[in-house]
């Protein structure tokens, strides 16, 4: 007897009413029961559209030209209503805030059951079960908007899973979460898989999918480039490169060593798999104790860009949380610094104190020798810039050109000079050709560049960039970091980035400040800081995978990227 696959796409092409060419082309895909399928794609490749088709949002909620057939358990989805879908397919979207409509967690979870007329006693039982299943019993009576990002996303997952759908679809569920939040969400997905549900997940973090997925699909420009198990997936280097997808750093390292003849057979894809395999390469290798963190080198007075002196910040009632506890830091001119740490570690509060948005409860922040909190807004903007996480909240004008020029309106700069500066920054950030476009018509990556351009055109002494790579695929994330490096090099701007992307911090920054519970936990070069694995673990920060692997093998100082790791290991192996 043949079983009907839960979801199937047959020669599916789809165009939005406004799109010039199809977003998806000739997609043939079968999702089998109990399977975990991961979808990897660069931004703009149609992955959310594909998920929308699988979840019935297209054609029932979002309209467009749909060719071919999407089948849910053998039935063409055109013949099914969104309601029918909702009873079989659960969907978790990217932004948890848009999926929480009730005030209390327990109400949120049972809300879908209320709509389906489930009896109250049964609701109680299912609520208790799902809270235990997702390990969120402690959140039962909490207010949804007071939860952390990871907690919110797990509540959303529980609220979707409580209706017991056979198929669960996830659209980048960890993209807006810190490392701990991501880990908790992935743990919940693991639990769902144990319950033999079918899972399809779009995710930018390839490492997570390599570890758990049965199959990986690479989507590029609306077409399926690859559809194979994870082990085979990473070997398709040409396709991955074409799509701009970087395999996990551990997989890359294994591939390099395999090519050099040091490794053979099935290559490890994840850190957990890699440790025993690499221990085999380096017999007797054991984790090395972390070296002592060198003392900070004092910055010469004329090189100081920002001086943070004993800054404390306590949030006002009703929750008077001491978010920053006596932090003192000196940032050197033209340095590129990453501030890392768990959500709630105080890094954003510190950054907001440094940029003048928050006035510290005590302590001072000097930028270019001036107290930032005593500067008028227009002067402060020239001293220190701040780029927020979501570029859409920072765009106010009708064209890219006007958007950048708007920043200079309040600076009293002569029109000719202003025009020159706008052109220069737009050319530098590759946005000059798009200067007539409405900012909201740009891609996410270009919006982010534009948001940076709007601040960079002021040529501030220092620039704070909050989570510049969140929600961006690896290629765009690297492009943003390269752009910040160029700004630093060209204008001598001090760049401070708040980030959860450890591999990017390791590669691009020359200093890393790790924060925990409002205090500076570690401060030093990326190599020195990431060597302190045990200390970093207290704030749920993990060094880049290759760094962790090297530390497991006792390689100190550890490498920070695949190139360094491959060279170090190759040298040791041929010695």
């Amino acid at each position: 007897m043949t079983t009907v696959p839960p979801l199937q796409l047959r020669d599916v092409s789809f165009s939005y009413p406004s799109s010039v060419e199809p977003v998806l082309r000739n997609i043939n895909l079968t999702i089998n029961s109990g399977e975990f399928v991961g979808i990897i794609a660069p931004t703009g490749s149609g992955k959310s559209t594909l998920l929308g088709l699988l979840g019935g949002i297209i054609p029932h909620y979002v309209r467009g030209d749909l060719q071919g057939q999407v089948l849910l358990e053998g039935v063409d989805t055109r013949e099914l209503s969104l309601r029918k879908f909702a009873s079989r397919v659960g969907m978790v979207l990217q932004d948890p805030d848009s999926q929480l409509f009730n005030l209390l967690v327990r109400d949120e979870i049972v809300w879908g059951l209320e709509n389906r007329g489930v009896a109250r006693a049964q609701m109680d039982a299912r609520l208790d079960h799902i809270l235990t299943f997702f390990n969120i019993t402690a959140l039962r009576d909490r207010i949804t908007y007071d939860l952390s990002g990871g907690e919110k996303q797990r509540v959303v997952m529980a609220a979707v899973a409580v209706s017991q759908p056979d198929i669960l679809l996830f659209d980048n569920p960890t993209s807006q979460l810190d490392p701990l939040g991501s880990e908790l969400v992935i743990e919940s997905v693991r639990r769902i898989l144990e319950a033999h549900r079918t899972v399809v997940m779009v995710e930018d973090k390839l490492d997570e999918l390599l570890e758990h997925a049965d199959r990986l699909i690479l989507l590029h420009r609306g077409e399926i480039l690859l559809d194979c198990p994870p082990a085979a997936f990473v070997r398709h280097e040409a396709e991955l490169e074409r799509a701009g997808i970087v395999p996990s750093s551990v997989a890359q390292l294994a591939l390099r060593l395999a090519r050099a003849g040091h490794l053979s057979g099935t290559l490890p894809l994840t850190l957990a798999d890699a440790v025993p395999v690499f221990r085999g390469l380096f017999p007797g290798a054991a984790p090395a104790p972390a070296p002592a963190l060198p003392d900070a080198v004092p910055v010469a007075a004329e090189r100081v860009s920002i001086a943070v002196r004993d800054v404390r910040f306590v949030y006002p009632p009703p929750r008077p949380i001491p978010a920053v506890k006596g932090v003192s830091l000196t940032f050197e001119r033209a340095s590129f610094v990453a501030i890392i740490g768990q959500n709630g570690s105080g890094k954003t509060t510190l950054a907001r104190c440094m940029s003048g948005y928050l006035t510290p409860t005590s302590g001072t922040v000097l930028v270019g020798g001036e107290n930032v909190h005593q500067l008028k807004t227009f002067r402060r903007a020239r001293r220190i810039g701040y780029v927020f996480q979501n570029p859409s909240t920072q765009l106010f004008r009708q064209s890219v050109y006007d958007e950048v020029a708007f920043s200079l309106e309040y600076q009293g700069i002569a029109p000719a000079e202003a025009a020159g500066r706008v052109e220069s920054i737009l050319r530098m950030l590759d946005l000059w050709e798009q200067r007539e476009l409405h900012p909201f018509r740009l891609s996410l990556g270009n919006k982010q560049r534009l948001a940076i351009a709007c601040i960079a055109v002021l040529q501030p002494d220092a620039l704070i960039v909050d989570e510049p790579t969140t929600g961006q695929d690896p290629r765009h994330a690297r492009a943003v970091m390269e752009l910040l490096t160029r700004l630093r090099d060209q204008y001598g701007t001090t760049i401070i980035t708040i980030t959860h992307a450890m591999s990017l911090a390791a590669e691009y920054c020359d200093r890393v400040v790790a924060m925990c519970r409002g205090e500076v936990l570690l401060d030093g070069t990326p190599r020195d800081v990431f060597a302190q694995r045990e200390v970093l673990a207290t704030t749920f920060v993990k060094p880049p995978s290759v760094t962790q692997l090297a530390l497991e093998l006792g390689i100190v100082p550890p490498p920070l990227n695949v190139d360094e790791a491959a060279t170090m290991m190759h040298e040791r192996l041929v010695r």
């Binding site: 979207l93 903007a381 920072q394």
Partner: protein, 281 residues
């Protein structure tokens, strides 16, 4: 608490009261602000009764609901110019408009004590109304509020969307703060300060990101709601089952009866002339 007019989340007996009880209180209080004689003389000084009513509400919010005025100081700060403006206008315009006064009458000569007190009275009356709703929204969980509307006969979808609107409001406030700071980062402080002309310009600039952000978010929310079966009962005829319901307890009944009794008494006293308007003058 996430902002003005949003639920505080504390656990006090005021929070636990049924929303209908608080609604009766709020409406009674509003009507009483117009019925009670004003001003009252305290130590020879005429004090507008609505001012005393405002103080009572602040005391209730602070003493019982445990929310200090510091938490909604911005609301009080914004109220101040409104009250002062109304008082100022009445001081000069109640009896005669100085613009049309004879040329030999100085503008200050048109000022009147009666106008000043009346102005403050009206200003504080408006303040009392705002404060009453503040107490209500601080202490009433939006979804029980929605439930009470549903129980009062409003369709579920309407009641839920109203409650959700109250939940959505803090998100909008957060977005507005980010936009204001994003403008500051560009050297523009149009959304800071109290100058209404500058504020209006700032609002017009921020309307696009705020509006688009709200639109985008509301579309995502609507989609998520449909995916969780919001329209299921209407489409299938399956009856929606509410997980929790609201019920008036004895304390609620006692308070409702007390408030309605006070209200009726005030109306009777006003009709019979015992509560004369403007008792001081």
């Amino acid at each position: 608490m996430s902002g003005i007019y949003s639920y505080s989340g504390y656990e006090t007996w005021l929070h636990r009261l049924d929303p209908r009880t608080k609604l009766v209180f709020t409406l009674s209080y509003l009507v009483l602000a117009f019925l009670l004689p004003s001003p009252v003389v305290i130590g020879g000084v005429p004090v507008p009764t609505p001012l005393i009513m405002c103080v009572i509400i602040i005391a209730l919010i602070w003493g019982v609901a445990r929310i200090s005025p510091a938490e909604y100081a911005i609301f009080l700060i914004y109220l101040a110019p409104i009250i002062l403006g109304i008082a100022f206008a009445h001081t000069f315009f109640l009896n005669t408009c100085p613009c049309f006064a004879p040329a030999d009458v100085a503008v200050l000569g048109a000022a009147s004590m009666n106008g000043l007190v009346r102005g403050f009275e009206i200003g504080f009356r408006i303040a009392a109304m705002g404060m009453c709703f503040l107490l209500f929204s601080f202490t009433t969980e939006p979804f029980t509020w929605g439930l009470s509307m549903y129980r009062a006969g409003l369709p579920y979808k309407g009641a839920f969307m109203f409650a959700f609107g109250m939940r959505f409001y803090p998100l909008l406030q957060e977005e507005y703060t980010t936009i204001r700071e994003a403008l500051q980062a560009r050297g523009c402080d149009l959304l800071n300060g109290m100058n209404p002309v500058r504020l209006a310009r700032g609002m017009s600039i921020s309307a696009i990101p705020l509006g688009l952000g709200a639109l985008n978010r509301s579309q995502n929310i609507a989609l998520s709601m449909e995916l969780r079966g919001f329209s299921f009962p209407e489409e299938t005829g399956v009856e929606r089952v509410l997980y929790r319901d609201i019920q008036l307890r004895p304390l609620d009944w006692l308070l409702i009866i007390t408030w309605l009794g006070l209200l009726v008494t005030a109306i009777v006293l006003r009709i019979t002339g015992v509560f004369a308007p403007n008792a001081f003058f």
